[in-house]
Protein backbone atom coordinates (compact mmCIF):
# COMPACT_ATOMS: atom_id res chain seq x y z
CA UNK A 1 0.00 0.00 0.00
CA UNK A 2 2.83 2.32 0.98
CA UNK A 3 4.63 1.42 -2.25
CA UNK A 4 1.53 2.05 -4.34
CA UNK A 5 1.17 5.43 -2.66
CA UNK A 6 4.75 6.31 -3.39
CA UNK A 7 4.52 5.26 -7.02
CA UNK A 8 1.26 7.15 -7.40
CA UNK A 9 2.86 10.18 -5.77
CA UNK A 10 5.88 10.13 -8.08
CA UNK A 11 3.71 9.75 -11.16
CA UNK A 12 1.53 12.67 -10.09
CA UNK A 13 4.62 14.78 -9.37
CA UNK A 14 6.08 13.91 -12.74
CA UNK A 15 2.87 14.79 -14.56
CA UNK A 16 2.58 18.02 -12.59
CA UNK A 17 6.14 18.89 -13.61
CA UNK A 18 5.40 18.22 -17.27
CA UNK A 19 2.27 20.33 -16.88
CA UNK A 20 4.33 23.20 -15.48
CA UNK A 21 6.76 22.93 -18.41
CA UNK A 22 3.90 22.89 -20.90
CA UNK A 23 2.32 25.91 -19.23
CA UNK A 24 5.61 27.84 -19.39
CA UNK A 25 6.15 26.90 -23.03
CA UNK A 26 2.56 27.85 -23.77
CA UNK A 27 2.92 31.29 -22.20
CA UNK A 28 6.20 31.82 -24.06
CA UNK A 29 4.49 30.78 -27.30
CA UNK A 30 1.68 33.25 -26.59
CA UNK A 31 4.20 36.09 -26.41
CA UNK A 32 5.96 34.80 -29.52
CA UNK A 33 2.96 34.25 -31.79
CA UNK A 34 -0.16 35.96 -30.38
CA UNK A 35 0.97 39.01 -28.41
CA UNK A 36 2.79 40.63 -31.39
CA UNK A 37 -0.67 41.14 -32.95
CA UNK A 38 -1.85 42.97 -29.84
CA UNK A 39 0.96 45.50 -29.94
CA UNK A 40 3.57 43.71 -27.86
CA UNK A 41 6.39 42.99 -30.30
CA UNK A 42 8.77 40.09 -29.80
CA UNK A 43 12.13 41.17 -28.43
CA UNK A 44 14.07 40.36 -31.56
CA UNK A 45 17.24 41.97 -30.27
CA UNK A 46 17.27 39.79 -27.16
CA UNK A 47 16.43 36.70 -29.20
CA UNK A 48 19.36 37.39 -31.52
CA UNK A 49 21.81 37.90 -28.69
CA UNK A 50 20.53 34.69 -27.11
CA UNK A 51 20.97 32.93 -30.45
CA UNK A 52 24.56 34.15 -30.57
CA UNK A 53 25.17 32.82 -27.09
CA UNK A 54 23.34 29.52 -27.56
CA UNK A 55 24.29 28.82 -31.14
CA UNK A 56 27.32 30.55 -32.54
CA UNK A 57 29.43 30.32 -29.39
CA UNK A 58 28.70 26.59 -29.13
CA UNK A 59 30.21 25.87 -32.54
CA UNK A 60 33.86 25.21 -31.52
CA UNK A 61 33.12 22.68 -28.79
CA UNK A 62 30.27 21.10 -30.73
CA UNK A 63 32.46 20.73 -33.81
CA UNK A 64 35.19 19.03 -31.84
CA UNK A 65 32.84 16.64 -30.06
CA UNK A 66 30.82 15.63 -33.11
CA UNK A 67 33.97 15.22 -35.22
CA UNK A 68 35.22 12.69 -32.69
CA UNK A 69 31.80 11.04 -32.45
CA UNK A 70 31.83 10.60 -36.23
CA UNK A 71 35.31 9.11 -36.04
CA UNK A 72 34.26 6.76 -33.23
CA UNK A 73 31.18 5.68 -35.17
CA UNK A 74 33.34 4.88 -38.18
CA UNK A 75 35.78 2.86 -36.07
CA UNK A 76 32.99 0.93 -34.37
CA UNK A 77 31.15 0.26 -37.61
CA UNK A 78 34.37 -0.81 -39.34
CA UNK A 79 35.11 -3.28 -36.54
CA UNK A 80 32.10 -5.29 -37.64
CA UNK A 81 31.98 -4.41 -41.33
CA UNK A 82 35.53 -5.43 -42.14
CA UNK A 83 34.66 -9.03 -41.25
CA UNK A 84 32.48 -8.97 -44.33
CA UNK A 85 34.92 -6.93 -46.38
CA UNK A 86 32.29 -4.21 -46.48
CA UNK A 87 34.35 -1.26 -45.31
CA UNK A 88 32.79 0.92 -48.00
CA UNK A 89 29.54 0.83 -45.98
CA UNK A 90 31.24 2.82 -43.23
CA UNK A 91 30.19 6.03 -44.95
CA UNK A 92 26.50 5.19 -44.97
CA UNK A 93 26.59 3.79 -41.43
CA UNK A 94 28.11 7.00 -40.10
CA UNK A 95 25.88 9.28 -42.18
CA UNK A 96 22.64 7.58 -41.18
CA UNK A 97 23.39 7.23 -37.48
CA UNK A 98 24.64 10.82 -37.28
CA UNK A 99 21.69 12.48 -39.01
CA UNK A 100 18.93 10.31 -37.60
CA UNK A 101 20.14 10.04 -34.03
CA UNK A 102 23.50 11.13 -32.79
CA UNK A 103 23.70 14.55 -34.42
CA UNK A 104 20.53 15.84 -32.72
CA UNK A 105 21.25 14.02 -29.47
CA UNK A 106 24.88 15.06 -29.02
CA UNK A 107 23.96 18.62 -29.99
CA UNK A 108 21.19 18.60 -27.39
CA UNK A 109 23.56 17.32 -24.70
CA UNK A 110 26.20 19.93 -25.50
CA UNK A 111 23.54 22.64 -25.46
CA UNK A 112 22.15 21.38 -22.14
CA UNK A 113 25.63 21.67 -20.65
CA UNK A 114 26.27 25.10 -22.08
CA UNK A 115 22.87 26.80 -22.21
CA UNK A 116 20.26 24.80 -20.29
CA UNK A 117 22.39 25.18 -17.18
CA UNK A 118 23.09 28.83 -17.97
CA UNK A 119 19.36 29.59 -18.32
CA UNK A 120 18.64 28.07 -14.92
CA UNK A 121 21.59 29.88 -13.31
CA UNK A 122 20.81 33.23 -14.96
CA UNK A 123 17.10 33.24 -14.16
CA UNK A 124 17.69 31.68 -10.73
CA UNK A 125 20.18 34.42 -9.84
CA UNK A 126 17.76 37.06 -11.10
CA UNK A 127 15.10 35.52 -8.88
CA UNK A 128 17.39 35.59 -5.83
CA UNK A 129 18.48 39.20 -6.43
CA UNK A 130 14.82 40.25 -6.88
CA UNK A 131 15.39 41.19 -10.53
CA UNK A 132 12.39 39.09 -11.59
CA UNK A 133 10.29 40.93 -9.00
CA UNK A 134 11.68 44.22 -10.31
CA UNK A 135 10.53 43.32 -13.82
CA UNK A 136 7.04 42.59 -12.53
CA UNK A 137 6.80 45.83 -10.57
CA UNK A 138 7.82 47.66 -13.75
CA UNK A 139 4.86 45.95 -15.48
CA UNK A 140 7.25 43.94 -17.66
CA UNK A 141 6.26 40.31 -17.98
CA UNK A 142 9.31 38.15 -17.15
CA UNK A 143 8.13 35.44 -19.55
CA UNK A 144 7.86 37.96 -22.37
CA UNK A 145 11.14 39.63 -21.48
CA UNK A 146 13.34 36.67 -20.54
CA UNK A 147 11.81 33.36 -21.54
CA UNK A 148 10.31 33.92 -24.99
CA UNK A 149 13.60 35.11 -26.57
CA UNK A 150 15.31 32.01 -25.18
CA UNK A 151 12.66 29.71 -26.66
CA UNK A 152 12.93 31.38 -30.04
CA UNK A 153 16.72 31.29 -29.99
CA UNK A 154 16.79 27.62 -29.04
CA UNK A 155 14.07 26.49 -31.44
CA UNK A 156 15.96 28.12 -34.32
CA UNK A 157 19.54 27.44 -33.28
CA UNK A 158 19.25 23.79 -32.27
CA UNK A 159 18.36 22.59 -35.80
CA UNK A 160 21.13 24.80 -37.19
CA UNK A 161 23.63 23.36 -34.75
CA UNK A 162 22.36 19.88 -35.58
CA UNK A 163 23.02 20.36 -39.30
CA UNK A 164 26.50 21.54 -38.42
CA UNK A 165 26.98 18.59 -36.05
CA UNK A 166 25.86 16.15 -38.77
CA UNK A 167 28.42 17.59 -41.17
CA UNK A 168 31.21 17.49 -38.62
CA UNK A 169 30.32 13.89 -37.73
CA UNK A 170 30.47 12.88 -41.40
CA UNK A 171 33.80 14.66 -41.63
CA UNK A 172 35.03 12.66 -38.64
CA UNK A 173 33.92 9.47 -40.35
CA UNK A 174 35.65 10.60 -43.51
CA UNK A 175 38.96 10.86 -41.68
CA UNK A 176 38.74 7.13 -41.00
CA UNK A 177 37.37 6.42 -44.46
CA UNK A 178 40.26 8.17 -46.15
CA UNK A 179 42.93 6.81 -43.84
CA UNK A 180 41.77 3.22 -43.64
CA UNK A 181 39.09 2.37 -46.18
CA UNK A 182 40.49 3.56 -49.50
CA UNK A 183 38.05 6.47 -49.83
CA UNK A 184 38.99 9.85 -51.16
CA UNK A 185 37.40 12.82 -49.35
CA UNK A 186 35.13 13.53 -52.29
CA UNK A 187 34.09 9.93 -52.68
CA UNK A 188 33.37 9.59 -48.97
CA UNK A 189 31.15 12.64 -48.99
CA UNK A 190 29.38 11.42 -52.12
CA UNK A 191 28.86 7.99 -50.53
CA UNK A 192 27.37 9.68 -47.43
CA UNK A 193 25.02 11.81 -49.50
CA UNK A 194 23.93 8.79 -51.53
CA UNK A 195 23.10 6.90 -48.35
CA UNK A 196 20.92 9.67 -46.95
CA UNK A 197 17.29 10.30 -47.69
CA UNK A 198 15.81 13.71 -47.03
CA UNK A 199 13.61 11.95 -44.47
CA UNK A 200 16.66 11.06 -42.34
CA UNK A 201 17.73 14.67 -42.10
CA UNK A 202 14.23 16.06 -41.55
CA UNK A 203 13.34 13.64 -38.74
CA UNK A 204 16.60 14.57 -37.03
CA UNK A 205 15.80 18.25 -37.34
CA UNK A 206 12.24 17.85 -36.05
CA UNK A 207 13.66 16.06 -33.03
CA UNK A 208 16.20 18.81 -32.49
CA UNK A 209 13.48 21.49 -32.43
CA UNK A 210 11.65 19.45 -29.78
CA UNK A 211 14.90 19.08 -27.82
CA UNK A 212 15.43 22.83 -27.97
CA UNK A 213 11.95 23.52 -26.61
CA UNK A 214 12.41 20.91 -23.88
CA UNK A 215 15.80 22.21 -22.76
CA UNK A 216 14.56 25.81 -22.63
CA UNK A 217 11.40 24.88 -20.74
CA UNK A 218 13.34 22.92 -18.11
CA UNK A 219 16.12 25.52 -17.74
CA UNK A 220 13.73 28.45 -17.43
CA UNK A 221 11.29 26.58 -15.19
CA UNK A 222 14.07 25.55 -12.81
CA UNK A 223 15.37 29.12 -12.76
CA UNK A 224 11.97 30.62 -12.09
CA UNK A 225 11.20 28.16 -9.28
CA UNK A 226 14.51 28.80 -7.49
CA UNK A 227 14.08 29.55 -3.79
CA UNK A 228 16.09 32.15 -1.91
CA UNK A 229 19.87 31.92 -1.75
CA UNK A 230 22.94 31.07 -3.78
CA UNK A 231 22.81 27.40 -2.80
CA UNK A 232 19.37 27.10 -4.37
CA UNK A 233 20.69 28.50 -7.64
CA UNK A 234 23.28 25.75 -7.70
CA UNK A 235 20.66 23.11 -7.02
CA UNK A 236 18.36 24.52 -9.70
CA UNK A 237 21.21 24.43 -12.21
CA UNK A 238 22.03 20.82 -11.39
CA UNK A 239 18.38 19.83 -11.61
CA UNK A 240 18.02 21.63 -14.92
CA UNK A 241 20.87 19.60 -16.42
CA UNK A 242 19.77 16.24 -15.05
CA UNK A 243 16.09 16.68 -15.89
CA UNK A 244 16.90 18.08 -19.35
CA UNK A 245 19.07 15.08 -20.22
CA UNK A 246 16.35 12.71 -19.07
CA UNK A 247 13.56 14.52 -20.88
CA UNK A 248 15.58 14.87 -24.09
CA UNK A 249 16.12 11.10 -24.14
CA UNK A 250 12.43 10.62 -23.34
CA UNK A 251 11.34 12.94 -26.16
CA UNK A 252 13.83 11.13 -28.40
CA UNK A 253 12.23 7.74 -27.68
CA UNK A 254 8.75 9.06 -28.40
CA UNK A 255 9.66 10.76 -31.65
CA UNK A 256 11.89 7.96 -32.88
CA UNK A 257 9.08 5.48 -32.25
CA UNK A 258 6.64 7.84 -33.95
CA UNK A 259 8.84 8.18 -37.03
CA UNK A 260 9.39 4.42 -37.08
CA UNK A 261 5.69 3.63 -37.21
CA UNK A 262 4.82 6.48 -39.55
CA UNK A 263 7.49 5.53 -42.07
CA UNK A 264 6.58 1.82 -41.80
CA UNK A 265 3.17 2.43 -43.31
Amino acid sequence: MELANQIGGSVTDGLAYLGALASLAGRAAYFAFVAPFTGKPVRVQRAISQAMQVGVRALPILSLITFFIGLILALQAAYELRKFGALNFVASAVAISMTRELGPLITAIVVIGRSGSAFAAEIGTMKVTEEIDALETMAINPIHFLVTPKFLAMAVMLPCLTIWANSMGILGGALFGVAQADFTWARYVQASLDALFLRDIVTGLIKSVMFGVTITAVGCHEGLSTGAGAEQVGQATTRAVVISIFLVIFVDVIFTALFFFVSAR
Binding site: E130, E131, E136, T137, A139, I140
Partner: protein
Protein backbone atom coordinates in the same frame (compact mmCIF):
# COMPACT_ATOMS: atom_id res chain seq x y z
CA UNK B 1 -18.43 52.37 7.50
CA UNK B 2 -15.56 54.58 8.49
CA UNK B 3 -14.34 57.60 6.58
CA UNK B 4 -12.31 55.36 4.26
CA UNK B 5 -15.43 53.57 3.15
CA UNK B 6 -15.24 55.42 -0.14
CA UNK B 7 -11.52 55.46 -0.88
CA UNK B 8 -12.01 56.55 -4.49
CA UNK B 9 -12.51 60.17 -3.40
CA UNK B 10 -9.46 62.08 -4.59
CA UNK B 11 -8.93 63.93 -1.32
CA UNK B 12 -8.96 60.61 0.52
CA UNK B 13 -5.99 58.44 1.31
CA UNK B 14 -3.62 57.34 -1.46
CA UNK B 15 -3.65 53.74 -0.28
CA UNK B 16 -6.13 52.08 2.04
CA UNK B 17 -5.59 48.64 3.50
CA UNK B 18 -8.57 46.85 4.95
CA UNK B 19 -8.15 43.67 6.99
CA UNK B 20 -5.41 42.33 4.76
CA UNK B 21 -4.43 38.69 5.23
CA UNK B 22 -1.50 37.15 3.36
CA UNK B 23 -0.05 33.64 3.53
CA UNK B 24 2.96 31.83 2.21
CA UNK B 25 1.72 28.34 1.55
CA UNK B 26 -0.29 27.33 4.59
CA UNK B 27 1.40 29.76 6.92
CA UNK B 28 -0.37 33.07 7.44
CA UNK B 29 2.13 35.95 7.63
CA UNK B 30 -0.18 38.97 7.89
CA UNK B 31 -3.21 38.53 10.14
CA UNK B 32 -5.49 41.36 9.12
CA UNK B 33 -3.69 44.65 8.47
CA UNK B 34 -5.65 47.90 8.16
CA UNK B 35 -4.29 51.43 7.77
CA UNK B 36 -4.30 54.36 5.36
CA UNK B 37 -1.46 56.07 3.57
CA UNK B 38 -2.16 59.77 2.92
CA UNK B 39 -1.36 61.52 -0.32
CA UNK B 40 2.11 63.08 -0.23
CA UNK B 41 3.23 61.65 3.08
CA UNK B 42 6.20 59.47 3.87
CA UNK B 43 5.07 56.42 5.76
CA UNK B 44 7.68 54.17 7.32
CA UNK B 45 6.72 50.57 8.00
CA UNK B 46 8.85 49.45 10.93
CA UNK B 47 9.27 45.94 12.16
CA UNK B 48 11.79 43.32 13.13
CA UNK B 49 12.98 40.43 11.02
CA UNK B 50 10.11 38.08 10.31
CA UNK B 51 7.50 40.62 11.38
CA UNK B 52 5.86 40.48 7.96
CA UNK B 53 6.83 44.00 6.88
CA UNK B 54 8.53 42.87 3.67
CA UNK B 55 5.56 40.65 2.84
CA UNK B 56 3.33 43.67 3.35
CA UNK B 57 5.41 45.70 0.90
CA UNK B 58 5.41 42.89 -1.66
CA UNK B 59 1.63 42.66 -1.36
CA UNK B 60 1.26 46.43 -1.85
CA UNK B 61 3.14 46.32 -5.16
CA UNK B 62 1.20 43.26 -6.26
CA UNK B 63 3.96 40.65 -5.97
CA UNK B 64 1.91 38.62 -3.47
CA UNK B 65 -1.80 37.94 -3.67
CA UNK B 66 -3.65 38.43 -0.39
CA UNK B 67 -5.97 35.67 0.88
CA UNK B 68 -8.57 38.20 1.87
CA UNK B 69 -8.94 41.90 2.56
CA UNK B 70 -8.72 44.94 0.33
CA UNK B 71 -5.99 47.24 -0.90
CA UNK B 72 -7.44 50.42 -2.39
CA UNK B 73 -4.92 52.18 -4.59
CA UNK B 74 -5.94 54.93 -6.99
CA UNK B 75 -9.58 53.95 -6.59
CA UNK B 76 -9.04 50.30 -7.42
CA UNK B 77 -8.93 47.30 -5.14
CA UNK B 78 -5.68 45.78 -6.31
CA UNK B 79 -6.37 42.63 -4.32
CA UNK B 80 -9.07 41.77 -6.85
CA UNK B 81 -8.06 43.16 -10.25
CA UNK B 82 -6.79 41.48 -13.37
CA UNK B 83 -3.15 41.28 -14.38
CA UNK B 84 -3.48 43.90 -17.12
CA UNK B 85 -5.21 46.38 -14.79
CA UNK B 86 -2.46 45.78 -12.23
CA UNK B 87 0.14 46.49 -14.92
CA UNK B 88 -1.51 49.86 -15.59
CA UNK B 89 -1.23 50.71 -11.89
CA UNK B 90 2.35 49.46 -11.78
CA UNK B 91 3.31 52.06 -14.36
CA UNK B 92 2.35 54.68 -11.75
CA UNK B 93 4.40 53.23 -8.92
CA UNK B 94 8.13 52.90 -8.45
CA UNK B 95 9.87 50.33 -6.32
CA UNK B 96 13.43 50.36 -5.07
CA UNK B 97 14.49 46.89 -3.99
CA UNK B 98 16.78 46.05 -1.09
CA UNK B 99 19.79 45.08 -3.19
CA UNK B 100 18.88 47.43 -6.03
CA UNK B 101 17.79 44.57 -8.31
CA UNK B 102 19.49 46.23 -11.27
CA UNK B 103 19.77 43.98 -14.31
CA UNK B 104 23.36 42.79 -14.31
CA UNK B 105 23.52 42.36 -18.07
CA UNK B 106 22.59 45.99 -18.79
CA UNK B 107 24.36 49.27 -18.12
CA UNK B 108 23.03 51.70 -15.54
CA UNK B 109 21.60 53.80 -18.37
CA UNK B 110 19.83 50.85 -19.99
CA UNK B 111 18.44 49.88 -16.60
CA UNK B 112 16.96 53.32 -15.98
CA UNK B 113 15.69 53.65 -19.54
CA UNK B 114 14.09 50.19 -19.58
CA UNK B 115 10.63 51.17 -18.28
CA UNK B 116 10.57 54.11 -20.70
CA UNK B 117 11.49 51.94 -23.66
CA UNK B 118 8.93 49.33 -22.61
CA UNK B 119 5.95 51.51 -21.85
CA UNK B 120 6.35 54.70 -23.85
CA UNK B 121 6.82 55.50 -27.51
CA UNK B 122 9.34 58.25 -26.78
CA UNK B 123 12.17 58.89 -29.20
CA UNK B 124 15.63 57.70 -28.20
CA UNK B 125 16.82 61.30 -27.88
CA UNK B 126 13.98 62.10 -25.45
CA UNK B 127 14.69 58.98 -23.42
CA UNK B 128 18.33 60.06 -23.32
CA UNK B 129 17.34 63.42 -21.81
CA UNK B 130 15.02 61.84 -19.23
CA UNK B 131 17.76 59.36 -18.38
CA UNK B 132 20.29 62.16 -17.73
CA UNK B 133 17.71 64.00 -15.64
CA UNK B 134 16.90 60.98 -13.49
CA UNK B 135 20.54 60.10 -12.94
CA UNK B 136 21.23 63.72 -12.04
CA UNK B 137 18.40 63.65 -9.48
CA UNK B 138 20.00 60.74 -7.66
CA UNK B 139 23.52 62.13 -7.96
CA UNK B 140 24.81 59.65 -10.53
CA UNK B 141 25.42 61.94 -13.52
CA UNK B 142 27.87 60.43 -15.94
CA UNK B 143 27.44 56.85 -14.76
CA UNK B 144 25.06 55.73 -17.53
CA UNK B 145 27.65 53.52 -19.22
CA UNK B 146 28.79 51.74 -16.05
CA UNK B 147 27.69 48.17 -15.41
CA UNK B 148 25.89 47.62 -12.09
CA UNK B 149 28.75 45.38 -10.94
CA UNK B 150 31.11 48.37 -11.17
CA UNK B 151 29.04 50.41 -8.70
CA UNK B 152 29.31 50.51 -4.91
CA UNK B 153 26.35 49.49 -2.74
CA UNK B 154 25.15 53.05 -2.23
CA UNK B 155 25.46 53.90 -5.91
CA UNK B 156 23.52 50.77 -6.86
CA UNK B 157 20.73 51.90 -4.60
CA UNK B 158 20.75 55.36 -6.14
CA UNK B 159 20.64 53.85 -9.61
CA UNK B 160 17.70 51.69 -8.51
CA UNK B 161 15.92 54.83 -7.29
CA UNK B 162 16.59 56.49 -10.64
CA UNK B 163 14.98 53.49 -12.36
CA UNK B 164 12.01 53.61 -9.98
CA UNK B 165 11.63 57.33 -10.82
CA UNK B 166 11.83 56.81 -14.57
CA UNK B 167 8.08 56.72 -15.18
CA UNK B 168 7.42 59.68 -12.82
CA UNK B 169 5.54 57.53 -10.31
CA UNK B 170 2.95 58.86 -7.89
CA UNK B 171 3.98 56.41 -5.22
CA UNK B 172 7.50 55.31 -4.45
CA UNK B 173 8.20 52.15 -2.45
CA UNK B 174 11.50 51.44 -0.73
CA UNK B 175 12.53 48.07 0.68
CA UNK B 176 15.21 48.54 3.35
CA UNK B 177 16.89 51.57 1.74
CA UNK B 178 19.78 51.59 4.20
CA UNK B 179 20.39 47.84 4.46
CA UNK B 180 23.99 46.89 3.85
CA UNK B 181 25.23 50.48 3.67
CA UNK B 182 27.63 52.22 6.03
CA UNK B 183 26.04 54.98 8.15
CA UNK B 184 27.32 57.83 6.00
CA UNK B 185 26.14 56.33 2.72
CA UNK B 186 22.86 55.33 4.38
CA UNK B 187 22.36 58.93 5.54
CA UNK B 188 22.95 59.99 1.94
CA UNK B 189 20.15 57.69 0.75
CA UNK B 190 17.84 59.09 3.47
CA UNK B 191 18.75 62.57 2.28
CA UNK B 192 17.83 61.55 -1.25
CA UNK B 193 14.41 60.27 -0.15
CA UNK B 194 13.75 63.59 1.62
CA UNK B 195 14.81 65.58 -1.43
CA UNK B 196 12.59 63.55 -3.75
CA UNK B 197 9.65 64.03 -1.45
CA UNK B 198 10.24 67.79 -1.29
CA UNK B 199 10.74 68.11 -5.05
CA UNK B 200 7.90 65.93 -6.33
CA UNK B 201 5.40 65.67 -3.42
CA UNK B 202 5.42 61.96 -3.95
CA UNK B 203 3.80 59.49 -1.63
CA UNK B 204 6.66 57.45 -0.22
CA UNK B 205 6.38 54.13 1.59
CA UNK B 206 9.53 52.81 3.21
CA UNK B 207 10.03 49.46 4.89
CA UNK B 208 12.95 49.41 7.29
CA UNK B 209 14.19 48.31 10.68
CA UNK B 210 16.76 51.13 10.91
CA UNK B 211 15.44 53.46 13.60
CA UNK B 212 17.68 56.43 12.87
CA UNK B 213 16.75 56.36 9.23
CA UNK B 214 13.06 55.86 10.01
CA UNK B 215 12.87 58.89 12.31
CA UNK B 216 14.73 61.03 9.82
CA UNK B 217 12.44 60.43 6.84
CA UNK B 218 9.05 59.54 8.28
CA UNK B 219 5.94 61.67 8.57
CA UNK B 220 4.12 58.76 10.10
CA UNK B 221 5.13 55.27 11.16
CA UNK B 222 3.48 51.88 11.40
CA UNK B 223 5.01 49.25 13.66
CA UNK B 224 4.29 45.72 12.47
CA UNK B 225 4.93 42.80 14.76
CA UNK B 226 4.10 39.16 14.08
CA UNK B 227 1.82 40.11 11.23
CA UNK B 228 -0.35 42.68 12.99
CA UNK B 229 -0.23 46.47 13.32
CA UNK B 230 1.00 47.23 16.82
CA UNK B 231 1.00 50.99 16.58
CA UNK B 232 0.56 53.74 14.03
CA UNK B 233 1.22 57.43 14.44
CA UNK B 234 3.46 60.41 13.75
CA UNK B 235 7.11 60.21 14.73
CA UNK B 236 6.34 62.23 17.90
CA UNK B 237 3.48 59.96 18.84
CA UNK B 238 5.68 56.93 18.36
CA UNK B 239 8.46 58.43 20.49
CA UNK B 240 5.97 59.15 23.26
CA UNK B 241 4.23 55.79 23.02
CA UNK B 242 4.05 53.65 26.12
CA UNK B 243 3.01 50.49 24.27
CA UNK B 244 5.43 47.80 25.54
CA UNK B 245 6.16 46.40 22.07
CA UNK B 246 6.83 49.91 20.68
CA UNK B 247 9.09 50.75 23.62
CA UNK B 248 10.93 47.45 23.22
CA UNK B 249 11.52 48.17 19.54
CA UNK B 250 12.45 51.84 19.90
CA UNK B 251 14.61 51.31 23.00
CA UNK B 252 16.21 48.28 21.37
CA UNK B 253 15.60 45.88 24.23
CA UNK B 254 16.57 42.32 23.41
CA UNK B 255 14.03 39.51 23.52
CA UNK B 256 14.13 37.67 26.85
CA UNK B 257 16.78 35.01 26.67
CA UNK B 258 15.64 31.59 25.59
CA UNK B 259 16.41 29.29 28.50
CA UNK B 260 14.23 26.32 27.88
CA UNK B 261 13.90 24.15 24.86
CA UNK B 262 10.15 24.44 25.22
CA UNK B 263 10.30 28.26 25.19
CA UNK B 264 12.29 28.09 22.01
CA UNK B 265 9.76 25.78 20.44
CA UNK B 266 6.99 28.12 21.51
CA UNK B 267 8.85 31.10 20.08
CA UNK B 268 9.27 29.32 16.76
CA UNK B 269 5.64 28.32 16.55
CA UNK B 270 3.88 31.23 18.22
CA UNK B 271 2.87 32.86 14.97
CA UNK B 272 1.38 29.66 13.66
CA UNK B 273 -2.14 30.05 14.84
CA UNK B 274 -4.13 26.97 15.79
CA UNK B 275 -7.18 26.14 13.72
CA UNK B 276 -5.53 26.84 10.36
CA UNK B 277 -5.55 23.19 9.46
CA UNK B 278 -2.44 21.31 8.48
CA UNK B 279 0.05 24.04 9.35
CA UNK B 280 -1.13 24.12 12.96
CA UNK B 281 -1.29 20.37 13.28
CA UNK B 282 2.10 19.72 11.82
CA UNK B 283 3.87 22.00 14.23
CA UNK B 284 2.00 20.65 17.26
Amino acid sequence: MDQAGNPAVSSGPMISLRNLRVSYGEREILHGISFDVMRGETLVILGGSGSGKSTLLRTLVGLEKPDSGEIWLKGKNIAAISGSEMDEIRKKIGMSFQGGALFGSMTVGENVALPLREHTKLEDSTIEIILRLKLDQVGLSGYENYMPSQLSGGMKKRAAVARALAMDPEILFFDEPSAGLDPIIAAGVDELILELKKAFHMTVIVVTHELASAFMIADRMVLIDKGIVVAIGTTEEMRASTHPRVRQFLDRIAEPEVSQELDYLQMLTEDIRPGRGAAGKRSA
